[in-house]
């Protein structure tokens, strides 16, 4: 932190620290104005959003600058806080700044009077959460990384527990905190290995250490365990569908959009930057885990009946796809194919930033819908496009992006990922050559399924007839909420239509991690996204969109001119039935029924079929996560059994206790005598 006197000479790192400190001050101001909800909503959150924009600007300029280092006086004397702003952290700061600007603006309009924890406290937890995320990305030694990593988990835990009156939310908070802490312990042990007994925890020192293949693999597995637990990769994902719906919507948007990416940042930093000699099976492990969670996530998101759980499972799916991209890049890197590794890495990074934008947009829209209707489950919504156009149309953009449809960022990411899969014929081992096309097939299936989910999400909520009477009175989103959503939509559009510029931004990142970048091929033909060579593959989203809109416009004008534009409003076609009710539409379960039928073994279903003598017969099917019964409950039962055995140690009789003391003395004497 060089001299504070003349801001002109400040490096990017100082500006980022200014933003972090500003967030913390806003948080404190929130605590002072604990109950004054007006002040918090109108002043504090928008200020937070402005600082996010500042952070974005700083990150943009820092992306191309050389890495900057700073040492803060905090922390243990021999272990002060080292911070470093290199291109990788600049990219993630850009992601954080962009998304948090929109979400903070949305949160400003989100508060209502008298709801659960005082708004001032939420403002504190929210801004501490943001500050810790920004610091995680800049941490340059294990100690500060762990401190801000768990502060992030700590503050987001309180955000999840915002309205802790409801028992389910408490359970969700508990599960979330437990898995986060266990993951953090794993990461801690991994850093223990990486410092290779030198006692110097800075990342610079860790980069010099060359671990033996065995210890390197143990470190990598621990890192995958730790960061996977936080990112929601398959075996340790159970907390995500519980915690994200529990948190208030703007915060689940931030958690889903940004926090999961920070977990993957950690994976990136350890796998590519700190560990030196990567082994090929690391990539395969990451890819299989990624694909398993992606398929699991998308299949489960299709059958959900609650808005936010659907989006939470869809986050698991997207995280899975990103992990597959990282795994493939690691595989290429371990075989020394830098260019292909850079392509896969760009695909993963692209997917991260586009997922951050469109997922937070979708969570914000669920927030707006919940505020307007007070309903969480899809079965009780419908026809909101008429009463809430300002929420419906941005959500449509988000839905198209999440479904991976062409003009948006989601498609570009998938396109890059599929391209990188196509070039894998050069791998030395035949087994991998065979494995990778199958994985490409799975990715295509997952992308198509996510389209299915998104049609269900948008169709059941916004289209069709309102399934409840009170939906007529649903009011549209407030001004702040509209601003927040429009910011995120513009982010999605930008990512969708100008991939070359975004890839140029990522180029320094891939150069620093895998010593190769895509930018040189992408930059010479400005509109065309050409990953490797012109005749291999190219995609120009801008021209693509222009083509579709031109055809759209031409058709519209010609039909109007050649024929006419007359139109008349009539009741819909009812096929002879006298009356049409809203209940005749497909319910959320109905829409997901084919997937439930095709992917039967994935689920653990309990059907309640009405018997003939039921007074009011009703049919209910509950779909549960089988992993909960295969992994989480057995572990809980094991701990319970072991603790009962240990409990017998303390039976209360003093003679027995004296016997313990005597026996210990004798045993230790025997051990020592030998």
């Amino acid at each position: 932190m060089n001299s504070l006197t003349h801001p002109g000479a400040w490096i990017h790192l100082d500006w980022v620290l200014v933003v972090v400190v500003a967030w913390l001050l806003i948080g404190l101001a929130g605590v002072l104005a604990l109950r004054r909800f007006r002040f918090v909503a109108v002043v504090l959150f928008p200020m937070g959003a402005c600082f996010s924009v500042l952070l974005m600007a700083v990150a943009l300029s820092a992306a191309f600058a050389s890495p900057e280092v700073a040492v803060l006086p905090l922390g243990l004397p021999q272990l002060p806080f080292h911070l470093r702003l290199d291109s990788l952290s600049a990219f993630f700061l850009l992601l954080i700044g962009g998304v948090s600007a929109g979400v903070s603006a949305f949160a400003a309009g989100y508060f209502r009077q008298g709801e659960g924890t005082p708004p001032g406290l939420i403002c504190l937890e929210y801004h501490v959460f943001l500050a810790s995320i920004a610091l995680v990305v800049m941490a340059d030694d294990a100690y500060v990384f762990m401190v801000v990593w768990e502060t992030m988990a700590f503050s987001s835990f309180f955000l999840v527990m915002a309205n802790h009156r409801i028992p389910e939310i408490r359970n969700a908070g508990y599960l979330y905190m437990l898995v986060a802490h266990i993951g953090a312990l794993g990461i801690l042990l991994c850093f223990g290995l990486l410092q290779a007994n030198t006692g110097d925890y800075t990342f610079a020192n860790m980069r010099q250490q060359h671990l033996t293949p065995f210890w390197g693999s143990v470190a990598f597995v621990l890192a995958v365990f730790g960061f996977g637990a936080k990112a929601g990769v398959l075996p340790l994902h159970a907390w995500l569908p519980e915690a994200h719906p529990a948190a208030p919507s703007p915060f689940s948007a931030l958690m889903s959009g940004v926090m999961l990416k920070i977990a993957l940042y950690g994976m990136l930093r350890v796998a590519f930057d700190l560990l030196q000699d990567q082994i090929w099976w690391w990539g395969v492990l990451l890819m299989t885990l990624g694909l398993a969670s992606a398929l699991f996530g998308v299949v489960f998101s299709t059958v959900q009946v609650e808005m936010k759980r659907l989006l939470a499972y869809s986050s698991i799916e997207n995280i899975g796809l990103i992990c597959t991209g990282l795994g493939l890049s690691l595989l290429f890197f371990s075989y020394g194919m830098q260019a292909l590794s850079a392509l896969a890495l760009t695909a993963a990074l692209y997917h991260m930033i586009s997922h951050a934008f469109f997922k937070s947009l979708l969570f914000c829209s669920t927030g707006a819908v919940m505020h307007a209707t007070g309903e969480r489950s899809l079965g009780k919504l419908g026809g909101l496009i008429r009463t809430m156009p300002w929420v419906a149309w941005p959500t449509l953009m988000g839905v198209l992006a999440c479904g991976g449809l062409p003009p948006f960022g989601g498609f570009v990411a998938e396109w890059l990922l599929l391209q990188s899969f196509l070039f894998t014929t050069g791998l030395p081992s035949a087994f991998l050559d065979m494995l990778v096309p199958v994985m490409a097939a799975l990715i295509a299936l997952i992308a198509a399924l996510s389209g299915y989910t998104m049609v269900k999400y948008f169709g059941v909520i916004f289209l069709g007839q309102p399934r409840e009477e009170k939906l007529q009175a649903a009011h549209d989103a407030g001004w702040w909420e509209r601003m927040g959503m429009l910011w995120l939509v513009s982010g999605c559009m930008l990512l969708g239509l100008f991939p070359n510029q975004v890839i140029a931004l990522m180029e320094p990142v891939t150069k620093s991690l895998v010593q190769a970048g895509l930018a040189h091929t992408a930059s010479d033909n400005s509109w065309l996204l050409v990953p490797v060579s012109m005749e291999r593959a190219s995609y120009a989203p801008a021209i693509f969109l222009l083509g579709v809109l031109a055809a759209f416009g031409l058709a519209f004008v010609l039909v109007r001119k050649l024929y006419h534009g007359r139109m008349r409003r009539v009741p819909p076609w009812d096929c002879g039935h006298p009356w049409q009710t809203a209940r005749m539409q497909d319910t959320a379960e109905g829409f997901g029924q084919p997937i439930r039928q095709i992917f039967e073994p994935f689920f653990r279903m309990k059907r309640h079929l009405p018997s003939a003598f039921d007074a009011q017969p009703h049919y209910r099917v509950t779909v549960e996560d089988p992993l909960w019964y295969w992994l989480y409950l057995p572990v809980a039962r094991l701990v319970e059994r072991v603790s009962r055995i240990v409990g017998m140690l303390q039976q209360g009789r003093i003679a027995v206790y004296l016997m313990y003391s005597f026996a210990t003395l004798v045993v230790v004497l025997l051990v020592v005598k030998r």
Partner: protein, 219 residues
Amino acid sequence: MIKFAPQLINLFATLILLLSFAMISQRRIVSLINLFMIQGAALVAASFLLGYVTHQPDLYVSGALTLVLKVMLIPWMLYRMIAKLNVRWDVESLFNVPTTMLVGIGLVIFSFSLALPISRLSDSLAGGSLGIALACVFLSFMMMITRSKAVPQVIGFLSMENGLIFAATTVTNGMPMIVEFGIALDVLVGVLILGVFMFQIREKFDSLDIHNLEALKED
């Protein structure tokens, strides 16, 4: 007289060991206290003898201290307590007498095997008595474990203190004076507190049986 000293010390040591064995197998509480008194007396005699032989005045002081405490004051308090609590019943233990004796012998062997390498090195007058002192400590430890009444446990605790003081006097000719005073003070206060406890337990459970002191446990 001087040349008999090592034999006399060993005599006192064996006497103390014998008394510990007797205390383990003793049935009646009053005789238990008498045995404890005799053990205290043997300890006093040993420290006076050592003091005389090695011309160290503070051994006399520590002997006098033990005399006052372990032979007169504490037994008198125990008698008064028993009289007031009108405790006359005999003392049953968890195991029958033969098994306790067998275990006692095992412990003696164990403590001798432990003390052997050390006693060979120590050049002080009563090298061998370390093994016996350790044996006495272990025996009183076992007595506390097997007894199911509060008073015998207290006596076991005090006889363990005796064993330790005996080890201190014989092996290193007594501890520094200030430490001796500290130990004596602690023992005295300890007995006072145990007395207070016994009254409270008696008043709460109207019996001194340890079995009703087993409520706090992990179910």
